[in-house]
């Protein structure tokens, strides 16, 4: 089962508290997840902590599922960081700012596990 979602990213307190500790597991825990509301998680057949694959026209990334009832249905949130940026839009529309909010995404449950920060960055060197 796949769902379509509108993907945004943003700050969280945990992400901010790890701004200068990005090699730590705490940073991975603070950023490598995707928040959806419970109805969307149910449609996916996913529980909190399951792996989700998020795909956009710019790439794909595996992150953990998290519930947030503050999100309206169809709105997905990944904290700012390398996992979100693996799938957000590099297009700046001529004003310098990439598209960090409002990227159409497809989300599905996967058996794969999220890559840790260093492994994720190594992929850029190998590309």
């Amino acid at each position: 089962m796949k769902i379509k979602a509108n993907l945004i990213s943003g700050r969280t307190a945990d992400q901010g508290a790890h701004l200068e500790a990005k090699t730590h597991k705490g940073y991975f825990d603070a950023c490598a997840y995707c928040e959806l509301n419970s109805a969307d998680l149910e449609r996916l057949g996913a529980s909190e902590g399951d792996s989700l694959k998020v795909t956009t026209e710019f790439g794909e990334v595996v992150v953990f599922a998290k519930a947030n009832e503050g999100n309206p249905e169809g709105l997905a949130f990944i904290p700012m960081g390398p996992w979100a940026n693996a799938v957000l839009s590099p297009d700046t529309h001529g004003c310098g700012m990439p598209g960090f909010k409002g990227v159409p995404a497809e989300i599905e449950v996967t058996d794969e596990k999220p890559l840790e920060m260093k492994a994720l960055m190594r992929k850029y060197l190998e590309d």
Partner: protein
């Protein structure tokens, strides 16, 4: 046991200047008044992954080298590059920014700040329409209506509401939160929205529609508003416009929800026009919720030194500025830079994949206290002292008020300012040799 009062927290743009720090044996052992972000900053420096020595990538691995060797390698990269991107410089002092601009001029580089992925569109909007603003002190003392639009201070600026906005008590706002109306406009019910008197949930990417509708109403044209606009019922929009017009002093704090969503800088542009319209009825101001503690300072220093706040291209021999062309992400996505120097910022974590892919292909010099995703793709790494803890310097708060950051403890590391000076001297020496 020295206790240092009124230290300035060098994490977010709130730049809280009331931190009490206890130092024992050159270590910070106690912090008072800081939020979770500040705590992590002050205490974390003894726990986080410090870059202990300069390094150069050899056969794919970063290998420790003496400081002079790293400076020479970095200077060679800069001298041999035809199109260098200098990026970041926002979690450091204005003095370091000034040095970085000089180095960019010397090397004909493009220099851009973290505003490129933050409030860059706000700077564009301010140039197009102006940014009617006030100090945070004015807001604290006078604002009776506070809007948080597309921002979430509970998470991103945790003490902002207590020190400067919704919960603070001031000269004419002695009732604090009870005497103020707090409104949140956002696409999801954030922890900030949960504290608001009213929460207006808009459809993601439709900020411009809502701002324009508010302008129409404030200007006496509510008849043109459809029954629902930006996902918000007309009655709610009318009520919001009424609240704004009848306020004594309005401040709209806005964040990435406004700058990163569809319409980008046009959202800030429209917001500025709304503020101007409101000033026909009452006093109204706007302030961008700046992220890095001195991103505002970069804009200030760059503007007084070059005429532009960011994305400044020195390749023509004079400062040239066009953010959609000379912004860090535009350059990288086009695959233009053949080298990059990155300081006090982390594009590895915060740039989209296409930009990082290009960074991974070119020589990258990193100057930073901590290892982070950018380190993984860097070729020369130079560790630096932490400004506001191990080095003093000037920073600008989000309302463009400058504050002096204190040095709290001794450090073995050179400051960003010193590193930039050494690099500039070495670049000049190599150029003379050539």
């Amino acid at each position: 046991m020295p206790v240092i009062k009124d230290a300035v927290c060098s994490l977010c743009g709130s730049l809280c200047d009331d931190i009490t720090v206890t130092v024992e044996d050159n270590k910070i052992t106690k912090i008072e008044n800081a939020c979770i972000l500040g705590q992590s900053k002050f205490v974390g420096m003894f726990k986080h992954d410090r870059i202990e020595t300069p390094m150069i990538r050899k056969d794919g691995e970063l290998v420790p080298v003496p400081y002079e060797e790293a400076i020479e390698a970095a200077a060679k990269i800069l001298v041999n590059s035809r199109r260098t991107l200098s990026y970041g410089w926002c979690s450091t002092s204005c003095e370091a920014v000034s040095g970085a601009i000089q180095l960019a001029e010397e090397t004909g580089s493009v220099i851009d700040s973290t505003a490129n992925v933050c409030h860059g569109p706000t700077a564009l909007a301010a140039q197009e329409k102006g940014a009617p603003s006030a100090t945070l002190g004015e807001i604290k003392n006078r604002a009776d209506v506070i809007i948080f639009w597309g921002c979430n201070p509970v998470h991103a600026h945790p003490r902002h509401m207590v020190r400067y906005s919704s919960f603070s008590k001031g000269l004419f706002t002695e009732k604090g939160r009870k005497g103020r109306k707090m409104i949140v406009v956002d696409v999801r019910k954030t922890d900030t929205a949960k504290l608001a008197d009213s929460y207006i949930e808009i459809e993601q990417g439709s900020d411009l529609l809502l701002v324009t509708a508010l302008r129409s109403i404030v200007n006496g044209h509510e008849d043109v508003i459809p029954e629902t606009i930006a996902g918000v019922p007309k009655a709610e929009v009318l009520e919001l416009a009424e609240t704004l017009k009848n306020a004594k002093f309005v401040c709209i704090f806005f964040g990435m929800g406004v700058t990163q969503s569809r319409s980008k800088y046009k959202n800030g542009d429209a917001m500025s026009s709304l503020i101007s319209d409101l000033n026909q009825h009452t006093k109204a101001v706007m302030i961008g919720m700046r992220g890095h503690y001195n991103v505002t300072g970069f804009g200030q220093v760059a503007t007084w030194e070059t005429g532009f706040p960011m994305a400044i291209d020195f390749s023509k021999g004079y400062p040239y500025y066009n953010p959609g062309e000379t912004g860090a992400n535009d350059l990288l996505v086009r695959g233009e830079p053949d080298a990059a120097i990155i300081a006090a910022a982390d594009p590895g974590a915060h740039f989209p994949q296409k930009a990082i892919r290009h960074l991974a292909k070119i020589p990258v010099i990193q100057i930073d206290p901590y290892a982070n995703p950018t380190t993984e793709i860097a070729d020369v790494v130079i560790p630096s002292a932490i400004v506001g803890i191990e080095a003093e310097g000037t920073a600008y708060r989000m309302d463009a008020i400058s504050l002096r950051m204190k040095k709290l403890i001794e450090s073995k590391f050179k400051t960003d300012e010193e590193i930039v000076k050494d690099l500039t001297a070495k670049v000049r020496e190599l150029k003379r040799g050539a």
